[in-house]
Point group: C2
Chain length 714, copies 2
């Protein structure tokens, strides 16, 4: 963490726990933002002192107002700016003069309105740097801290939410109001609620670090519209998760925006930005959500209930149909139905009527009242094989809905296994659901949401225990040699780097390059072929020729000296025919590889996440099935392996139906090395290894072809 | 429709519109089913006369009770049985004696409790047949008809729903209560609400036909746990949809039950029952839903709003973030954003503040009140390119939620384009949502549901216009020859039918069989090869050999008489080595096909849907990517083509990246012919054509290999 970041952490502490707050630009007009901010702070019994600052008014809401913030006779911890944007910088300058370090800028009219606003925003940042100020905003809804010793609603939200353990961050202010309205109805509580707007100074990264150490916060939620520095976000998220164990759930909108990948190469054309964002979030341990409801469904599972030890659940229902639907949902979400012990079956048999289903899912039958539910839930909790209980209820005429809800809250108390509920319907079940929500028992209207939330918690915690974010140390890296090669290539001013040069570079990073040499004459070609052994492949090498096959510059499966001679001549004839002006540097002679699987590895650059690795099985799989995966460099062993395993084509490498398994470990190694190279040489804009020949397990891999595009350094 | 089905339609009319109802087995004990049924009928002001029948009571709720139904002095249209299951048949017998034809049997304790109950249920059916009675149930919740001239709540549901145009059918009684509770809260109205329970007599098929002609019903919903006769369900659904244009939405639970496909063959092992159910529903035009919420989200779109002409929508929002999320959801659901005309843009520019976004999605900005929403919605409706309007609202401090909701209901009145809404949040937006729901404007808490519902309506109506359920007449079918062959094969008592025989049979149905003949001697083999032209393939033919390649019984690419002779010998040597006891019938000599795509076609039998066709691209695609599709025989042109087009591998056949397109029409033809064969010969348990060689467009296809398994007729 650099000095500026440290400063922000210090100033954030004051933003959330101020003893004195000045509202600069407030007024007497109800229903306007400048008024409502002051009103909200007063309404929630803030524990410190509020100072209205208004050029026009002597007092507001009976409280003495000051013309300028420098007129306030006392020290001010936090200033909230609701001044019009054209004069905001004057107010901020005065804050600096007054010695205020913590500021929230609510006012809109900055970056979001274009160039003019951007200039204003930069002005604010300059002033902040001058006075060591940190600020949230501009263009935001404000900040809420529910901690009782502070109790601050420094926002123009309609209402103050309950206290709870969820920290919520949002780039969109408007979305915050929908979120608060949703959460209040469901009794979902927050520790901190922060609308960070244009994040001109304090960013989502600073806030993540703040919430990492915030004792009130157990779960972190975020709504993001742009990932400005994806790499920093990943690093922060990894650190927060590793150090605090707190889950981070993010909605990142703009899923369908066409990726603006400039590179026109084969692998490049398949890369949408959003797929990379998906991969990067997964890699960092971030749980990506599609919408608010999904985010809160998962958040309450994390916040309210113990972590499940396994994915084995018991389902208890008073209706068969919903029991089947929940079973479907559970299996589809990757959960399993627990298998009850004989003891449990015995208990259930005793407690339930003979028509009840005493296997999992347990059907306590439509006329069940609370006693049957209690007996079944207790029996399930006590069963060794059960690591979570799902309670389903339909409102039959005899169902004592509220009592059942209350009993559930009592049983859940002190349990080490989680319990989730789904009371199906809406009107009659509303009061029961309300009881559950008030007592922070997760409730879901859909079994699907219940099951996928359970899975999310289990998956996160399994990863938390197993994930190692350590990039392995690599041997056999000749960085200096590589650097010299790279400098030479760059000095030529070419963007496109051909096979031989690319392969030479890859060799310095310990990648499995083929046996082969450049032959300048036909005799050299024959000698090289003799040295490396037949059969060989020959390919033309020329700076002017990018697609060697298109000009018939490749000859395969040459098995004798004579065939090499003939092929050498054919290549030269072909090129002279179609590209008479091309300078031929020679012919590349390499060993021909057969009986292996072909995969593609690649490096590309994402504007937000930096160097990204790509993996896919060759040819038609990549084209038709879009069966590719991504990873952000540098790669850990685990991430590299996961990249391979998450493709559907993995089964082909793994070997199935009697086929042998391929040497997957050497692909993992190659991906990690490529990742390191991408980190070390930002000049590499794109690099494709296509194909990498992967041989049987233990027999290694060999690069079949490679090419590279360098960033135009002119 | 047979006589029994016609009788059921007649008796159903009385079940829904009785003038007099007897409740047989009712009592005075509040909170029990026998009492609540009577109570519910009385509470809702039923327009006819109710007669309590109870062996114990003289009167119930002040109404004179009769000991037996035969004691009632007046005619009875409908009897509702709530008698205990062991004596239910006695009551039904009395109904018959009394001349009652329409009955609802609420009582449980039948098929669902096992063998004993099944016997009781069969007894009921026998009595019904004897007296021309039709009955719903047993083991159901009952029936509701909201038509004002009847107003009958003959169920033990907690409440009577609103009148509306949705017909709901459910196999699960318990689920009904959850559905009613959900619907009542959302002001969703029903025309008919039917819990059909064990469907011992009247089935979901009868009810579908009834609702087809029911003028009150516009949309049909169904919850099903088992598809007993899938083919009949498909036929009924197709007829209902074609004749009435009413959409049918079905939840079929049990998605994850492992398919019980007995056949262990290659294609068979990939077939899960649920995939076939998916394909069958799609083929019949049924919209399959995963849960209640999805079903009602789609149902209200069908029931409340006009049909969109295209998938082009306008989004109007007061918050940027939700606008982006909705755009994401729209594109992901296959919708498009409409492109506004200059005129529309001009109108929006005039009506909205300068900071508003006047492009689609339109952002009327957080401080928008109803006037801005109205202006934007009207402009969108008036735009030529817009065929649907989505209104998104977040509860900002200035948002006049209820007024906006009211204005929407006014604008929507008489519109020919649909309008859907999403008021995000829960507490503050509740009253606005309530206004929308009361006026039957579709409201969705998630943009995803909104978009997928819009898509469902559009998709259904597009299909309604374009779908032709006519199975084409086929030429070149020698049914008599085929029948003889089949009889011969069956008379041998073998289950497994080898390549040559299978291909001979396929030939009689006009399938593209290869040029080839069975050679009994090496000289014959040479002669045949000479006749059909080199290169040829040779394969061993033996009843004992199922997997020819495994015993090295196949020789490819033979280009001369000598090669044929050598190969003939090798095949015989190989077989003698590994299977010395096998009787070799000869060697099959066929033309070798190259430069084509290989696909797999198959017939298999589903216990519920009957003969099913399977299509997939060969080898690894089927194995690794499970890229197969299904269709229920007989196939129309459209269904057969859709089977091919819905596989991802279709792109390979279609030709891409410079490859030529393959002869897809000949695959369509082959699928249709196979379908016909499967219909004509129920003895075919399984048939695989693997591979079918598909050549370039216009050049046809040829069967590469085929085999068949017949049903053991012993």
């Amino acid at each position: 963490m650099n000095e500026l970041q440290k400063l922000r952490q210090k100033n954030l502490e004051t933003i959330f726990h101020p003893q004195s707050v000045a509202i600069i630009g407030t007024n007497r007009v109800k229903g306007t933002v400048p008024h409502d901010i002051l009103d909200n702070i007063l309404k929630t019994d803030f524990n410190g002192v509020v100072y209205p600052v208004s050029p026009k008014e002597k007092s507001i809401k009976g409280i003495k107002a000051y013309k300028y913030v420098i007129d306030v006779p006392d020290d001010i911890d936090l200033a909230i700016l609701v001044f019009p944007s054209p004069v905001c910088h004057l107010a901020l300058e005065q804050c600096g003069q007054k010695g205020i370090k913590s500021v929230i800028i609510i006012s809109a009219g900055f970056k979001e309105i274009g160039e003019k606003g951007l200039i204003r925003e930069k002005q604010l940042v300059e002033i902040a740097r001058k006075y060591d100020i940190s600020f949230i905003g501009p263009n935001c809804l404000g900040v809420i801290n529910t901690a009782p010793e502070t109790n601050l609603n420094a926002s123009f939200a309609r209402e103050m939410p309950d206290k709870g353990s969820i920290g919520f961050l949002s780039q969109s202010g408007a979305l915050c109001t929908a979120v608060l309205d949703y959460a209040i109805a469901k009794h979902i509580g927050f520790s901190k609620f922060i609308s960070f707007g244009n994040k001109a100074d304090i960013s989502e990264i600073d806030l993540l670090y703040y919430l990492m150490d915030d004792e009130e916060t157990k779960v972190i939620l975020m709504y993001l519209e742009e990932v400005s520095d994806g790499k920093a976000l990943m690093n922060a998220a990894q650190e927060v998760i590793e150090k605090s164990g707190k889950p981070i759930l993010i909605i990142k909108s703009g899923r369908t925006e066409a990726g603006a990948s400039a590179a026109a190469s084969h692998t490049g054309s398949l890369t949408g930005k959003d797929e990379i964002c998906d991969a990067a979030f997964e890699q960092a341990g971030i749980i990506r959500c599609d919408h608010i409801e999904e985010m809160f469904n998962k958040a309450i599972a994390f916040a309210y209930q113990p972590v499940p030890r396994s994915e084995k659940v018991a389902i208890i229902t008073n209706a068969g149909g919903p029991g089947v639907l929940t079973t479907d949902a559970a299996i589809s979400s990757g959960l399993q139905l627990a298998k009850f012990s004989e003891e449990t079956t015995k208990i259930l048999k005793r407690a339930l009527p003979s028509t009840a289903n005493i296997n999992n899912p347990v059907d306590v039958i439509g006329d069940a009242r609370a006693d049957r539910y209690v007996a079944a839930i207790k029996a399930a909790f006590d069963d060794e094989d059960v690591d979570g209980v799902f309670v389903i209820l339909t409102p039959q005429s005899m169902t004592d809905i509220d009592t059942i809800a209350e009993e559930i809250t009592i049983i859940a108390e002190g349990q080490t296994k989680p319990i989730y509920t789904s009371f199906m319907g809406e009107k009659d079940v509303a009061s029961g659901i309300n009881i559950l929500q008030k007592h922070r028992i997760p409730h879901y209207s859909l079994p699907e949401s219940m099951c996928s939330s359970f899975h999310a918690v289990h998956h996160f915690n399994k990863n938390l225990r197993s994930k190692v974010h350590r990039v392995p140390a690599l041997d056999n890296i000749q960085h200096d040699v590589a650097k010299k090669m790279m400098n030479k290539a760059l000095s030529n001013g070419r963007a496109f780097i051909s096979e031989v040069e690319t392969i030479d570079l890859l060799k310095t990073y310990g990648l499995p390059v083929p046996e082969g040499k450049l032959a300048a004459t036909v005799d050299e070609a024959v000698n090289i072929a003799g040295d490396i052994g037949y059969p060989v492949v020959m390919k033309v090498v020329s700076d002017q020729i990018i697609h060697k096959s298109d000009v018939k510059g490749v000859e395969l499966n040459l098995t004798s000296a004579q065939e090499v001679r003939d092929a050498y001549q054919r290549i030269h004839d072909n090129i002279s025919a179609v590209m008479p002006d091309a300078t031929i540097d020679g012919v590349y002679v390499i060993r021909m590889i057969t009986g292996c699987e072909e995969v593609i590895l690649g490096i590309k650059r994402d504007p937000s996440f930096g160097p990204v690795l790509m993996f896919g099985l060759g040819g038609i799989y990549v084209e038709i099935f879009k069966d590719v995966s991504f990873g952000v460099a540098p790669l850990t062993q685990e991430v590299a392996r996961n990249m391979i395993e998450q493709t559907r084509a993995y089964k082909i490498l793994e070997g199935s139906r009697g086929r042998t398994s391929r040497d997957i470990e050497t692909i993992v190694d190659a991906l990690i090395r490529l990742g390191q190279m991408a980190m070390d040489f930002p000049q590499i804009d794109e690099l494709d290894i296509n194909p990498l020949f992967v041989m049987d397990q233990g027999k290694g891999s060999i690069i079949g072809d490679a090419r590279m595009i360098l960033k135009n350094s002119n």
